[in-house]
Amino acid sequence: MNRSIVTVILLIGLFYSLVVVASSVNAWRYPDEQQGYSPKQPIPYSHRLHAGELAINCKFCHFNSLESRHAGIPSTDVCMKCHKFVTSSYEVLKEELDLADKEKRKPKTIISDKLKKLYASLDLVDPQTPNPDAKPKSIEWVRVHNLPDFVCFDHSAHVTAGVACQKCHGPVESMEQVRQFESLSMGWCVKCHQESTENGINGKPVHAPRDCAVCHH
């Protein structure tokens, strides 16, 4: 009698454990340690394509990193600089143009599904035609690199000092979906600060302080 109950409990326990573990195994990490975190984004934006293939400079979109503590996810209108016209992949557009030529009509704009969300955030149906009474709303990106609240990290300071973006963010230009490349642990920061003070950053001598209050205040 008792044995059977115990086995029942054990089975439930086992099942439950398995469920919990299984659910957590893909997101396994030590507390506060998010290395390798790579959440799915609302728009499958490819850094590999933009930063890698098309070799767009990081700071072209993340210009905020030059002046502010936040690198800042670019606002939608930054995307629109190009995507006002680039509404779909090259092949598709090319095809449509040829077709249009053949049929002697002006090409109609083809909008890829991926980009629809982008235009939606600006409340636009057709990127070329502005919408006067538009109600723009933010795209809800998922934050990848997230430091604890008691750490004050200033992008502009590091960018002006000449630290390459890849030093902390890894080879983003090769990532289809952004992933936290480094551990971003305190030890990791301190190590870099010490090395930079000793060897300078690409030849230029720098003073990267190791005072606590530089990051913690």
Partner: protein, 1040 residues
């Protein structure tokens, strides 16, 4: 701290889903049958998984970029806008720093001609007023929420009928200096046959204007130019604290208060006053004088001066002077020698007295020199006669419509009930106040105005200087600018922006030289103020015949003196916890008003601090705790106004709630009691002083919350070694001594701090931040305290915690009162972390949570701190503050006021002044970005920035031409407890009192030892009594 929070959360979730599963499958009966161990085994196994789940990631955090980035906005960067603090007629210039669309910090505007970069505590506290969930968010119709349309329709309908019937319409506001607002009120009133705008100042200076009407033929308030005054004589005018335009006056007063080695000159400041005011504390010579005796003394002074001027005054009419004749004649002498460079200020509601004041100022030829009446000040236009007339009209039911904006009429006037009853007779009562205050609750309609930071407004504090205030965020509620409201009721549907622009184009531009309005406007908005030609009423020559001697002092046993506190000059700010918890500069009491009595009077009544006394004046009476205040006149009973404000019971549960905690506000009570009922309306003015007052003790007690328990630098005699010890942590000297020897008054224990044990180990290359505070300039106004609180997210802890000596202010102002009661010397000392290079606190921290930076700062790392409190024990200055609880941060609206650059400290963590490290880092990074060196003055700490007296200097001590470096060889420089060689980075400049005797306050004790016993000892022992009572009441306090 955030990610610490995550783990328990995920555990919690798991637990929720854990047990039910088991219970669900096993009927309880059987559950108990099987033996415990096996069950626990199983259960343990079940929950083992939960531990693992603790290692999973918290829910993903979203990042929302702008869809369209506004022009010039950079997320995470601070933007600064020029505005001005038009909530107060004094109209200080503000620079508001806005971060990601949130106005966070008010800063002084250095270019502003009046405030010159200073800002008072109340302006510093504006953000909390803005993000206040208790502000009226929508219009109201008889207390019910309503839509603007309905309210406006209703109001307009009634107004229309009033128009026809020709009923009287009154708009009551405090002093309005803004040309635009004035205009729109007037245009509104023009619609009616009998419409007038009544200016009501709770603390009015009506008498000054009336007096000038008598003597100069125009109802003007002179613009006092203290910068030009070498001799300042003030009769009860608290011009550094609360009187007319304190920030401006402080800035001016400062200019003549910095004696240097080469030019040891100082203005001479004499204060005659009943209660101890902040200004009295700074006076070189302070006389105790009951307010109702000002007249007599002024008569004498007038007589003495006119004698010098060659005119004899009949001495028989003068009456008996309470001040020694000799003192007065020397004072007259000094005044006479400083003709045209002297100034006489008087805070009296009696016109006759003010007339004598004008006469004296005229005799001294101060008009046109230190008093400007051609470009007069507009900072106080209150007219008591009109207010009293209004009251009569109301009572007579002659008023058809009453509009009140910016003041709680019924709260600030006596005879509340009759007034309320009278108001109920009015057909249309509209309140434009921001909150549900006493008057609003009587009004038919509430049409809440925007908060200052949400609205377009302008101000003209002094003729010819027009200031602009611009909105810094979208209104948080469905409120409406007062400009729009009046415009709309005058049939004009334009927005505040349009209204102000048109009015400026019409009125202000014409007074300026510039042609293009666009340029003029943009420039004005950018600067926040503009100087244009003055349009002032014509003043006549001085009418000598108007001068009659002031009436004799009426001799009641006591003299009531109502005043407002530095932090709470106006009932509108009673809802601001920062201001409520800001210790009063003199009494150091928070969260309460009280009856302050002189030690002698207290002894006579047999009361001590916290004993409730009943004060009766006319037919009004009020019960408040007593507070024994050294240096107060024995006849004077001082009570602060602007307390007992409706709705302040909201603070009952502010601060931590636990086993032994007591409410900040007792059930069904308010913060303090309203003293307005005691205002005397007898002699045609709203007089804040009256003689017909009685006081009696009750057997109740009401524990006051003071941040300082012991008030003198002289140690209690019963425990002081050698029968008496004087700890001159605030060093002082006299000007006479200073002239002979700039080092005079120096603490004998000073020694050469260049001696170091391990000089090589910690070289301070690069920056070495340091601060220097000129105690001669510090007025104790506490603007820095609130500035620091706002900059550094310092929590409000509530009355009970303050009572337990657990206030969290990083910056406090120590106040010591020494000397004889007839001539007390008050010393203020801003005290914050001294950032010692040999810091005792650092050595003792086991986990390296507090260390020393390479730039000489004492760093506190909150996230490393485990809270042993050893550092606080070992801190000689007791400037470290411990988070005894998790202080409330659940009000998401108030949290908008939090500075994102500063960590919000969790429970169990030590904190303290960081010298605004976030500003230092920002400054350094900015410089790096611009590729330049950090220049002196680029980085300013919050306290330094706000200081109206510019007493605080901060900078790099290694930078040989920085201000702070220069102070190092200032002869007045000293460090507190320097003899311990903590090597503080904060130094102080010695107080110099403009007195002729050679000894500073401290030697004074040494000298007349004999009468010192009679004078000082009672008040000292008195302090000890207080301490002991503190203890007993702490223990017995629970059932109070």
């Amino acid at each position: 701290m955030i990610n610490e929070a995550n783990k328990p959360e995920s555990l919690h979730q798991a637990n929720e889903s854990g047990p039910p599963m088991d219970n669900a499958t096993i009927p309880e009966k059987e559950l108990f049958q099987l033996n415990r161990r096996r069950f626990l085994e199983a259960a343990g196994f079940t929950f083992s998984a939960v531990a693992l789940s603790g290692c999973t990631r918290p829910d993903p955090e979203l990042a929302l970029p702008f869809a369209q980035l506004p022009e010039g906005v950079r997320p995470g960067r601070k933007l600064t806008y020029a505005s001005s603090c038009v909530d107060f007629p004094s109209g200080c210039g503000m620079l508001v720093s806005v971060r990601d669309g949130r106005p966070l910090k008010m800063e002084g505007m250095p270019e502003h001609p009046l405030s010159k970069g200073g800002l008072n505590a109340i302006a510093q506290a504006l953000p909390l007023g803005l993000y206040d969930s208790h502000r009226l968010k929508t219009p109201q119709k008889r207390g019910e929420q309503a839509e603007w349309e309905d309210v406006d329709d209703a109001i307009l309908k009634t107004l229309a009928s009033i128009k026809d019937s020709g009923g009287a319409v009154r708009v009551v506001t405090p002093t309005v200096t803004g040309p635009t607002l004035k205009e729109s009120i007037n245009t509104f009133l023009k619609q009616f046959k009998d419409g007038s705008h009544i200016t009501f100042d709770a603390v009015s200076h009506s008498a000054i204007l009336d007096a000038h009407e008598k003597t100069h033929g125009a109802r003007v308030l002179p613009h006092y130019l203290l910068a030009k005054a070498k001799v300042i004589v003030s009769f009860g005018a608290d011009f550094l604290g609360t009187w007319i335009s304190p920030v401006e006056f402080t800035a001016d007063w400062r200019t003549n208060r910095v004696p240097t080695e080469d030019d040891p000159q100082m203005s001479y400041h004499v204060q005659f006053e009943g209660r101890v005011s902040l200004t009295g504390g700074k006076a070189d010579r302070r006389y105790r004088l009951a307010p109702d005796e000002f007249g007599t003394v002024l008569n004498h002074l007038y007589a003495l001066l006119s004698e010098k001027a060659g005119r004899k005054v009949d001495a028989s009419k003068l009456g008996e002077s309470p001040i020694a004749e000799a003192d007065l004649s020397t004072l007259a002498e000094r005044l006479w020698n400083a003709k045209g460079e002297s100034i006489l200020l008087c805070d009296s509601q009696t016109v006759a007295v003010q007339v004598v004041v004008n006469a004296i100022n005229h005799l001294l030829g101060n008009y046109g020199k230190t008093l400007d009446i051609n470009k007069p000040s507009l900072q106080a236009q209150g007219n008591d006669r009109e207010v009293l007339k209004l009251i009569d009209e109301l009572k007579a039911g002659k008023i058809a419509a009453l509009f009140v904006a910016g003041t709680d009429l019924t709260h600030n006037l006596p005879e509340h009930d009759q007034l309320a009853e009278a108001i109920s007779k009015v057909r249309l009562v509209v309140s434009l106040n921001e909150r549900e205050d006493d008057f609003t609750s009587l009004a038919h309609y509430a049409c809440p105005d925007h908060h200052l930071l949400e609205s377009w407004l302008d101000a003209e504090p002094v003729c010819g200087l027009v200031c602009l205030s611009q909105p810094l965020l979208q209104p948080l509620g469905n409120t409406r600018s007062i400009l729009e409201s009046f415009a709309l009721w005058s049939g004009n549907k334009s927005t505040a922006y349009e209204i102000i622009r048109t009015s400026w184009e019409k009125n202000i531009l014409t007074r300026s030289k510039s042609k293009s309005f666009r340029k003029f406007w943009d420039q004005s908005v950018h600067d926040g103020f503009v100087q244009v030609s003055a349009e002032a009423p014509k003043v006549s020559e001085f009418k000598a015949d108007a001068v009659v001697l002031a009436p004799q002092a009426k001799s009641g046993e006591y003299c009531l003196s109502l005043y407002t506190k530095v932090g709470l000059t106006d009932s509108r700010h009673a809802h601001n916890p920062w201001l409520q918890e800001m210790p009063d500069p003199i009494t150091k009491v928070t969260w309460d008003n009280y009856v302050s009595l002189s030690p002698a009077t207290a002894e006579k009544l047999g009361v001590s601090d916290g004993d409730v006394v009943a004060v009766e004046a006319g037919d009004a009476n009020i019960e408040l705790p007593a507070l024994v205040q050294r240096g107060q006149h024995d006849r004077v009973i001082a009570i602060a106004l602007a307390y007992g404000v409706k709705g302040t019971d909201r603070f009952a549960k502010i601060g931590p709630q636990w086993l032994e905690s007591r409410l900040t506000v007792a059930e069904g009570e308010l913060v303090g009691k309203n003293a307005a009922p005691l205002i005397d309306v007898a002699n045609g003015s709203l007089s804040l002083t009256r003689g017909d007052v009685a006081i009696a003790r009750t057997d109740k007690r009401h524990e006051l919350a003071r941040t300082q328990e012991y008030h003198s630098m002289e140690l209690p005699r019963n425990v002081a070694p050698h029968g008496g010890e004087y700890r001159d942590v605030v060093e002082s000297t006299t000007l006479a001594a200073f002239k002979d020897d700039p080092e005079a008054g120096m603490h004998e224990k000073h020694f050469d701090t260049s001696v170091q044990l391990w000089p090589e180990d910690h070289p301070k290359k690069g920056h070495h931040w340091g601060m220097s505070i000129d105690l001669n300039l510090c007025t104790g106004c506490s603007a820095c305290v609130v500035a620091c609180q706002s900059e550094n997210n310092v929590p409000v802890v509530g009355k009970d915690e303050v009572r337990r000596q657990r206030e969290m202010h990083w910056m406090r102002i120590d106040r010591y009162i020494d000397g004889d009661d007839d001539d007390i010397q008050v010393s203020y000392q801003p005290m914050m972390c001294q950032h010692c290079d040999n810091a005792p606190c650092e050595t003792v921290c086991p986990v390296l949570a507090t260390t020393h930076s390479s730039e000489g700062l004492n760093e506190q790392v909150y996230n490393r701190c485990v809270g042993t409190r050893y550092c606080a024990n070992n801190c000689p200055y007791k400037v470290r503050r411990f988070n005894w609880f998790n202080y409330a941060h659940e009000d998401s609206l108030v949290n908008l006021a939090l500075n994102p650059d500063v960590t919000v400290r969790a429970r169990g963590v030590m904190e303290k002044c960081s010298m605004c490290i976030q500003r230092i880092e920002e400054g350094k990074i900015d410089a790096k970005r611009r590729g330049v060196q950090v220049a002196d003055g680029d980085i300013q700490t919050a306290c330094q920035q706000s200081c109206p007296a510019r007493a605080i200097t901060f900078g790099d001590m290694n930078d040989s031409n920085s201000e702070v470096h220069k102070t190092e060889d200032n002869p007045r420089r000293y460090g507190v407890l320097e003899e311990f060689n903590f090597r503080q980075s904060v130094s102080y400049l010695r107080v110099v009192r403009n007195r002729d005797e050679q000894h500073s306050g401290k030697d004074g004790h040494g000298e007349h030892e004999d009468h010192e016993h009679s004078e000082v000892t009672p008040s000292n022992s008195n302090n000890i009594v207080n301490l002991d009572e503190k203890r007993t009441s702490e223990t017995g306090g629970k059932h109070v």
